[in-house]
């Protein structure tokens, strides 16, 4: 008697099992992880801003015809050289972390520990980018306004294009540092959400 329901049940199960196989495999219903997407987007923005800053600063050469042609380029000031170097380093490391978080977005759950290590890299990059922005910004500000007490004259009236390029580059790197702050806050918030109350 017990075997009869068993014989009845398998044929009932078989046609039920087949439509399941025929239908596409059910996706692991996981809500879109907005934090991971925002993470990748912000890191891409940081990388793009660093790249733009370095390129604009490097191509900011202007030659003025005073009695003899005198060029103004970023290599004449150690602060601007430091700016280019620091932002190149920041761009390189932000590229690495972008690839890391992109990989973690595609294969979720693989590198959960690494994401918290990226916070340390981001804070380091923030320090580097902020110091480079401050250094280049102070030199550019003196070039813009001059300083009568020390006898340093403004150069931006003479080299207009050079100063515009410098200003744009520093503005973009300021944007990059704000993005880095948002990135660290986002990472900290998404890590804190994983803690059950």
């Amino acid at each position: 008697m017990a075997s009869e329901p068993e014989k009845v049940v398998p044929p009932v199960e078989a046609p039920v099992a087949e439509p399941e196989k025929a239908a596409p495999p059910p996706s692991t219903t996981r809500p879109t992880d907005y934090f991971a997407v925002a993470d990748v987007v912000l890191r891409l923005l940081v990388f793009a801003s660093a790249l733009v800053s370095v390129v604009v600063m490097s191509t900011s050469k202007e030659t003025e015809m005073l009695p003899y042609p005198r060029p103004a380029k970023f290599t004449q000031s150690p602060a601007l050289i430091y700016f280019v170097a620091a932002l190149s380093v920041a761009g390189f490391f932000s590229l690495i972390t972008t690839l890391g978080s992109l990989y973690s977005l595609i294969k979720p759950g693989c590198c959960a520990k690494i994401i918290s290590h990226f916070i340390v890299i981001d804070v380091l990059l923030l320090g580097i980018v902020a110091s480079a922005t401050g250094a280049a910004g102070s030199v550019t500000y003196i070039g813009l306004k001059g300083n009568t007490y020390v006898g340093w004259e403004k150069i931006c009236t003479l080299y207009g294009k050079f100063c515009r390029y410098l200003g744009a580059s520093i503005g973009v790197s300021l944007f990059a540092s704000v993005m880095l702050v948002l990135l660290v806050l986002l990472s900290v918030y998404s890590l804190s959400k994983k803690i059950p109350k």
Binding site: K113, V123, L126, G127, A132, V139, Y141, V181, L191, I195
Partner: protein, 201 residues
């Protein structure tokens, strides 16, 4: 999978929680120490840089043949915009650390469980790190120009004449760099705490 993790965690949770609480107290003590050190260093840097004033008689030779002209010039911290920025940022960082220590002491009981309540403190800590690093960079670059001059832009060096001013400015910069390192360590300690807490669960 989530239920499996929580059931495993619940079985050893009492011991894990006690260990977590002990480490939380240790972390909070380290954080207080770091904040106090940051407060001291930024306060000293602001004071040293803000009391930077030097009056010297400088010999300026306008024409080669004539004897040099002796002018009494003053170098003050408020004459240069980057030193003003430096003093302002260090003062703001010092005030922020004092206020945040009071704030943490007030909500300290629930901070171990209430991570979301301390996001504001972390955000402001990060802003302070960025501001301090940028002020250090600005002051260092202007100090370098004052030390070496810049021949391309005809900015002459001034530190040969105002030795005490430049040395005091350099000392303030070094102290502020130590202070900003402590601010950076505060953020790192918070990250380590968070990392350890998420791993335990």
């Amino acid at each position: 999978m989530k239920t499996l993790e929580t059931s495993n965690g619940a079985s050893g949770s009492n011991e894990g929680k006690n260990r977590c609480d002990e480490e939380m107290v240790k972390c909070r003590r380290y954080e207080m120490i770091l904040r106090i050190m940051g407060l001291i260093f930024t306060l000293v840097a602001a004071i040293v840089a803000g009391s930077n004033k030097d009056t010297e008689s400088v010999a300026i030779s306008l024409v080669d043949g004539l004897p040099p002209l002796h002018l009494t010039l003053t170098a003050k911290w408020s004459y240069m915009s980057s030193t003003v920025y430096f003093v302002a940022v260090n003062a703001v960082a010092c005030a922020y650390v004092a206020i945040s220590m009071v704030f943490i002491a007030l909500i300290g009981g629930s901070r171990g469980r209430n991570w979301k309540g301390s996001i504001l403190v972390v955000a402001l800590d990060l802003t302070m790190v960025a501001l301090l690093f940028s002020a250090n960079g600005a002051s260092a670059s202007i100090g370098l120009i004052a030390l070496n001059g810049n021949s391309h832009t005809q900015w002459h060096k001034v530190c040969y004449a105002f030795k005490r001013y430049c040395i005091q400015g350099g000392a303030a910069l070094v102290i502020s760099m130590f202070g900003s390192f402590f601010f950076f360590c505060i953020v790192l300690l918070f990250t380590y705490n968070l990392h350890r807490t998420t791993l335990n669960y």
